[in-house]
């Protein structure tokens, strides 16, 4: 496998988006978005409903094909090798309801070539759940499912995390724990793009706030006061 990180300067953007447009029929969910995201930073992507945040994340993850423009991760277009470099957490859990957390993660681990079952138990513990639970994920609360979904995204220790609404339906204490976890990952050198409506949760943690409106990035700032969360 080619290592996508070879011959890259640490200062190079880890994600580069160039004039990205995504249309669904006549509706443009993204309109010529151009942006770069630097390594080892935590970005909070904010905006009203329908602003294009989820579509932006899905397009970066390769789940939506750009109508125009391009996305490069580690300097390369989406490919099987590049998919190894990011973890994706969507609004739905992306988990099988009939299987336990360990069974789910055991299966997804195989997709990434992770053969160590201890790794599954480790990431489940990291998100604050118990790997010994035998009950199926379908019987989890919504918040627990969210955390298990985050565990799935972390499973293969990716360089980039694309997280769509990770705190929705999570209680305040658990959300706080998740934020601390995200900060630890950022400090460990990972890049995080977090789509959220709960800007206040990331107020003290995000390095930069990216504001989207009508399919465009209308503002990027590190100034918390601008976002009204200082």
């Amino acid at each position: 496998m080619n290592d996508p990180t070879t011959a890259r300067s640490p200062a190079d953007p880890i994600i580069r988006i160039d004039n990205l447009t995504k249309q669904f029929g006549r509706f443009a969910a993204l309109r010529g978005v151009t942006a770069t995201f630097a390594p080892a930073r935590l970005y909070a992507i904010l905006g009203d409903n329908g602003a294009g945040k989820t579509t932006l994340l899905r397009t970066i993850a390769g789940l939506a094909t750009p109508t125009r423009g391009s996305v490069a991760i580690l300097g390369q277009a989406i490919s099987r090798d590049i998919r190894r470099e990011f973890g994706y957490m969507a609004h739905p859990s992306l988990l099988y309801d009939e299987m336990s957390g360990m069974e789910n993660l055991g299966y997804f681990a195989r997709l990434y070539g992770v053969r160590d079952s201890a790794r599954c138990a480790q990431v489940i513990s990291v998100v604050g759940l118990d790997p010994a639970w035998q009950r199926p994920v379908g019987q989890y609360s919504q918040g627990m499912r969210q955390r298990m979904s985050l565990a799935r995204a972390l499973l293969h220790d990716p360089k980039i995390l694309l997280l769509d609404e990770p705190f929705s339906n999570v209680d305040v204490r658990s959300a706080g724990e998740m934020v601390k976890l995200l900060v630890r990952m950022r400090d460990a050198g990972k890049t995080l793009l977090v789509v959220t409506h709960q800007a206040s949760l990331l107020g003290g943690a995000a390095d930069e706030f990216v504001w989207m409106q009508n399919g465009q990035i209308t503002n990027r700032t590190a100034d918390r006061s601008f976002m009204g969360i200082a």
């Binding site: 390769g62 939506a64 094909t65 994706y88 969507a90 099988y96 309801d97 009939e98 299966y107 990434y112």
Partner: protein, 225 residues
């Protein structure tokens, strides 16, 4: 990274586990096939000779309709919680998923056939006059022909609004050559009037061509929006 075969087996094991817990596909298929056997046996009252001539068509049409139930289920469970997206963002090859799904469907339909065939034999008083061992080859090749295309077209119709209707619309016309081969070969063996070899070779050729085609095109289907 895991070898594609490892991912295929892991996905197959996961599908068997899910089916074992939910029994969605097997129960629906069994119920449907049982209905066909009972209803047809009451509708017609063939003697042993007549049975040999019609049983090939009856058996395979029943299995084809029953297989559609399983084929719809196999992808439906990947849509719940959008789990298929977890596969699409992973570095796992599309073909590994396709093969696992096709093998899983093969297994489920084979279980159905194993359970239903004795009932067909009893209800229709069947006894092969030709080489009965060839029926095993027809069952294996015929079942694969149904599930390989069925798995592919079920994936294609996944994102359509009326996928339960779309699947038979896409699958049945393209399965006609295979269905014809299965019916003719089975009838030839049951009646012992002609050799089934030509139809078995045709069925094998059909399997090779469509398996290759499905494997070549599945990545496009998987990543289509």
């Amino acid at each position: 990274m895991s070898a594609p075969t490892g991912i295929t087996w892991a996905t197959l094991a996961k599908d068997i586990r899910l089916e074992w817990r939910s029994k969605d596909a097997i129960n629906s298929m069994l119920f449907f096939a049982l209905l066909v056997v009972v209803v047809f046996s009451f509708s017609f009252d063939p003697n042993a000779e007549e049975s040999r001539h019609i049983a090939g068509g009856l058996v395979w049409v029943a299995f084809l309709f029953a297989a559609v139930v399983a084929l719809n289920q196999t992808w439906a469970r990947e849509l719940r919680n959008q789990v298929l997206d977890a596969y699409r963002v992973s570095p796992a090859p599309a073909n590994a998923l396709f093969l696992a799904k096709a093998l899983g469907n093969f297994l489920f339909v084979a279980v159905l056939e194993a359970l239903m065939t004795p009932l067909f034999i009893i209800f229709y008083k069947l006894r092969a006059l030709g080489p009965a061992w060839q029926l095993i080859a027809i069952a294996v090749l015929g079942t694969w022909a149904l599930v390989v295309n069925g798995t592919f077209f079920a994936a294609m119709s996944l994102r359509t609004r009326s996928r339960e209707i779309m699947l038979p619309l896409l699958l049945f016309p393209i399965s006609l050559p295979a269905l014809l081969s299965m019916v003719e070969a089975t009838t030839n063996i049951l009646t012992g009037e002609n050799s089934a070899k030509f139809w078995i070779v045709l069925l094998a050729t059909y399997d090779v061509v469509f398996t290759t085609g499905c494997l070549a095109l599945f990545e496009t289907v998987l990543h289509a929006e």
